[in-house]
């Protein structure tokens, strides 16, 4: 073990960073793969089916089989498509989805890039994700893809405002853009987490996250019944798989960020209670993952439960309900912070 640590310390910085990135990205990729499996299983059981159960024991080999299948499928390049952009679009959607994890803290001090503007960086990365969609829709040169892309882009930008305002609320209370400090600011147990003083923002942030990732019930951009699959209708094989990866990586990112900013990240929920010592042996990252899984499950639960919104309803929800509520709550949170109102500020 000491030998390994010594070896690691002797490596150049760049190699160390690359190793760390692999340590983050490897589990993430496995999680993405098994998230697709979990989705099919969970929705299956919710609809009184069994879900995939053929490949491997209980179907555990399913994601691997899917990956292998997609790898051997032809990547069709439509004749009318702008071929360069057609191939660049999936990269533009996976790049930001993965790069956002660079500033994500997994435990006290356990973060790859500890930057002061972490939250701002995250917001910037999520706002770039829309390019993959727009370019894919345009480059495919097909009506379905184009319509899907335009719908999707307008929807994403609308909900991004609500998300941005919700993040401002978190900032007001935390007073720092550094994600680690945001979590530390919530220490003190379940009732000190930001979900309570920022309850409306917490709910809006997560729902906007669902809309931002184009998941049901906000999935008009790929509404099968109207525009087949939306912006990625012309994609096949691995090119499609990359879009798919990006979508699930984004869902995991939104879940993890909600857990981080509103549910105390890696902090134990029993802090400050008599049960604190019973759970002291649980590493922080376990709490973080557990909280993240709750939101990841919600994504699937939503999909199995709610019927799809109509487009005008989506836009009304975003602009006429979420934005006013977030603006009001920023004022409330700001006033509470400046004038020290309420039980939760010192």
């Amino acid at each position: 073990m000491d030998f390994l640590i010594g070896l690691y310390d002797s490596l150049p910085v760049a190699i160390q960073i690359i190793l760390k990135i692999v340590v983050i990205m490897g589990p993430l990729m496995v999680l993405v793969a098994y998230y697709t499996y979990a989705e099919r299983k969970v929705i299956g059981y919710m609809q009184v089916r069994i879900g995939p159960n053929r490949v491997g024991p209980k179907g555990w080999g399913q994601p691997i089989a899917d990956a292998v299948k997609l790898m051997f499928k032809e990547i069709v390049l439509p004749t009318h498509a702008d071929k360069t952009l057609f191939l660049i679009a999936p990269l533009l959607s996976i790049g930001p989805a993965l790069a956002a994890w660079a500033v994500f803290p997994f435990d006290t001090g356990l973060v790859l890039a500890d930057i002061n503007a972490g939250l701002l960086y995250l917001l910037a990365m999520t706002s770039i994700g829309v390019y993959g969609v727009i370019i894919a829709g345009w480059a495919s040169n097909s009506k379905y893809a184009f319509l899907g892309a335009i719908r999707c882009a307008a929807q994403i930008v609308s909900y991004e405002i609500a998300m941005g305002f919700a993040l401002v609320g978190v900032l007001v209370v935390a007073g720092s853009l550094n994600l680690g400090q945001i979590v530390e600011g919530q220490s003190g147990g379940f009732w000190n987490w930001y979900w309570l003083p920022l309850l409306p923002l917490f709910v809006i942030y997560f729902i906007s996250g669902v809309a931002e990732t184009n998941r049901a019930p906000f999935d008009v951009a790929e509404g099968e019944s109207e525009i087949v699959a939306g912006f990625h209708v012309d994609y096949s094989g691995m090119a499609f798989a990359v879009f798919f990866l990006a979508e699930y990586a984004n869902m995991i990112l939104i879940s993890a960020l909600t857990a981080l900013m509103f549910l105390g990240g890696w902090l134990s929920p029993f802090q400050g209670t008599f049960m604190e010592s019973w759970f002291a042996w649980v590493p922080g990252i376990i709490w973080l993952v557990a909280k993240t899984f709750v939101f990841m499950f919600l994504f699937l639960w939503f999909r199995a439960t709610f019927p799809r919104y109509r487009y005008d309803q989506i836009m009304r929800l975003g602009w006429k309900i979420f934005i006013p509520i977030t603006i009001v709550w920023i004022v409330v949170a700001g006033a509470m912070q400046v004038y020290d109102i309420g039980p939760w500020y010192q």
């Binding site: 702008d82 952009l85 930057i115 002061n116 503007a117 701002l120 960086y121 917001l123 910037a124 706002s127 770039i128 829309v130 390019y131 727009i134 370019i135 345009w138 184009f146 335009i150 882009a153 930008v157 991004e160 853009l177 005008d312 009304r316």
Partner: protein, 201 residues
């Protein structure tokens, strides 16, 4: 050459290259995407100058918002490229003269004579805990309050202008009045009538 300097030249080269592509590509969508690339490299260069907040906001606002609008507009307008290009060769000499003049002016005004390292020493590198956003906030919300409120007014004007320029009512479209839908009572919609039971036939 330090690694930082190498990065600066790398980003600067990509920036200039993509800026050239913006004005030379035939397809306006490609031009717009090269502009996005240019903004990215600009953000990286600002970051090298330790303007953390501005660099990320450049990506957030320009790449994440302004260029999305650009792309929306360009994708819809089927710009006829032949007519746009017709004047290119004819005006080329004038264009080159103007460009060279501007370049000379900029070198004279901004060149090392006035802004060289001998006139202004390079600032110290900021420590790791330097918080650019907080510094900016402190100066913006104490010394520059007046400018801030003017910015709000400008944004308001922009918002009203955008609405009055683009908004049109379409007489043929149907819409939902959500409030009225919610106000509906059972008795408005449903009428229960008494009728004799059907005979089994």
């Amino acid at each position: 050459m330090s690694f930082e300097k190498f990065l600066f030249y790398l980003f600067a080269a990509i920036l200039v290259g993509s800026a050239l592509m913006v004005i030379t590509r035939r397809n306006p969508v490609h031009s717009a995407l090269f502009l996005v690339l240019a903004f990215f490299n600009m953000a990286a260069i600002w970051l090298l100058a330790e303007a953390e907040f501005l660099a990320i906001v450049l990506v957030l606002v320009y790449v994440g918002a302004v260029m999305v609008l650009f792309l929306f507009v360009i994708m819809m307008l089927d710009i006829d490229l032949a007519t746009v290009r017709a004047g290119f060769i004819k005006h080329l000499p004038v264009g080159i003269v103007v460009a060279v003049l501007m370049l000379v002016e900029m070198v004279l005004v901004l060149g090392p004579k006035h802004f060289g390292l001998t006139k202004y020493a390079a600032p110290e590198a900021a420590p790791a805990d330097y918080n650019n956003t907080a510094e900016l906030g402190l100066s913006l919300f104490t010394q520059h309050l007046y400018a801030l409120e003017i910015a709000a007014v400008i944004l308001l004007v922009a918002m009203i202008a955008a609405i009055s320029l683009t908004l049109r009512k379409r007489p043929d479209s149907k819409r939902q009045n959500v409030t009225r839908q919610h106000m509906v009572k059972k008795k408005d919609r449903l009428k229960i009538i008494k009728m004799p039971a059907e005979e089994k036939g």
